[in-house]
């Protein structure tokens, strides 16, 4: 086709992950992702896309490429060390029912 592309092929804006704190006292929670040219634009877009109804009091944005994640393939070996340590849970210990405040 002879038609010229309206835009030269270019790398897309990088992907950012968005975390929103719903209200004071809560953790920031991952809500989704978006594309932006830079950090400031990512923050503005996050406000427009993820907090149109007062869903948050604080937003974090982080480049998706900067996140290091555990691999699902290694799930078992990675989490295995805590699997057999039942003594880390309070229910492991038998305390007589008549002992108060325990």
């Amino acid at each position: 086709m002879s038609e010229v592309r309206a835009e030269p092929p270019q790398a897309q804006w990088p992907l950012y992950e968005v975390f929103v704190r719903g209200k004071r006292g809560l953790n920031h929670v991952h809500v989704g992702s978006l594309h932006a040219a830079d950090d400031q634009m990512a923050l503005r877009h996050a406000r427009d896309v993820y907090t149109r109804r007062n869903e948050g009091v604080s937003i974090w944005v982080v480049r998706s490429a900067d996140i290091t994640a555990s691999s699902p393939d290694e799930k078992d070996p990675l989490f295995a060390p805590s699997g057999d340590k039942v003594y880390r849970h309070p229910t492991f210990y038998d305390i007589p029912a008549d002992v108060p405040h325990m």
Binding site: A6, E7, Q10, Q12, W13, L15, V31, G32, S33, L34, H35, A37, D38, M41, D48, V49, R52, R53, A69, S71, P72
Partner: protein, 313 residues
Amino acid sequence: MTTVDDVAPELVESFETTIGHHDRIEPRDWMPEGYRRTLVRQIAQHAHSEIIGMQPEGNWLTRAPSLRRKAILLAKVQDEAGHGLYLYSACETLGVSRQQLTEMLISGAQKYSSIFNYPTPSWADVGTIGWLVDGAAICNQVPLCRTSYGPYGRAMIRICKEESFHQRQGYELLMTMMRGTDEQREMVQESVDRFWWPALMMFGPPDDDSPNTAQSMEWGIKRHTNDELRQRFVDMSVPQAEALGVTLPDPELRWNEERGAHDFGAIDWDEFWTVVKGGGPCNAQRIAHRKRAWDDGAWVREAATAFARRSAS
């Protein structure tokens, strides 16, 4: 292409166990190529529908009859943009880029819901779209909150929370018009006459002509068949139409005591396929508009990239 034969049996087993437990598949889990492909098609089509869906109502933004209605309509159209973005993000977790998705929409390689190829010549259409089109969308979307692919389900949860406002504002708009003049009541009825059948078509082809449904249900992508959801929508809409005081344009629509559901007339599937294949009243206009917005926005995307590059150095 990776087929099930090429992959380690543990991976296939782990996938099937997760699906069997109605648990969620996450982006970095192994999944069969067909599962990924089906999801890309469905989520992309869904995202494109939200984006194209801004046009029929956007048509009325500058002509809304009051500031209140204009503010509501603006908020609604912004929501559609937001919903499109949630869904594009979910789709990108399957390894397809935003740019590819936009290009596939513009080239026609991917579809969007046929309902948005109908025109909105009347202000009452804004109300009817909220009531019937968003109502049908809600019927489709609520079960998708439990879909087996995690990012899709999470996007659907956000969307469903917001969608309820869309339906209620539309119904309220129609109620207001029904309390008005005879001419306004006629406008509502005329609009409902045009949108009722296309709204029923939103659930897709009948079950015996829907080749992907069985596999999609096996994978937990879909939770109900097209006909089940369509029936649910009809049963929900009938009392709403009565309360509103409009007649649904189907002489065969009546309660069937035995089935505990409404019987309704035959849908014109020829019309459906014509619109899906590009022959609807507004197909060309919708895509041309989207392409123009994309092309006209090119300099903004480039300028932002250049600015970011300069600020970084």
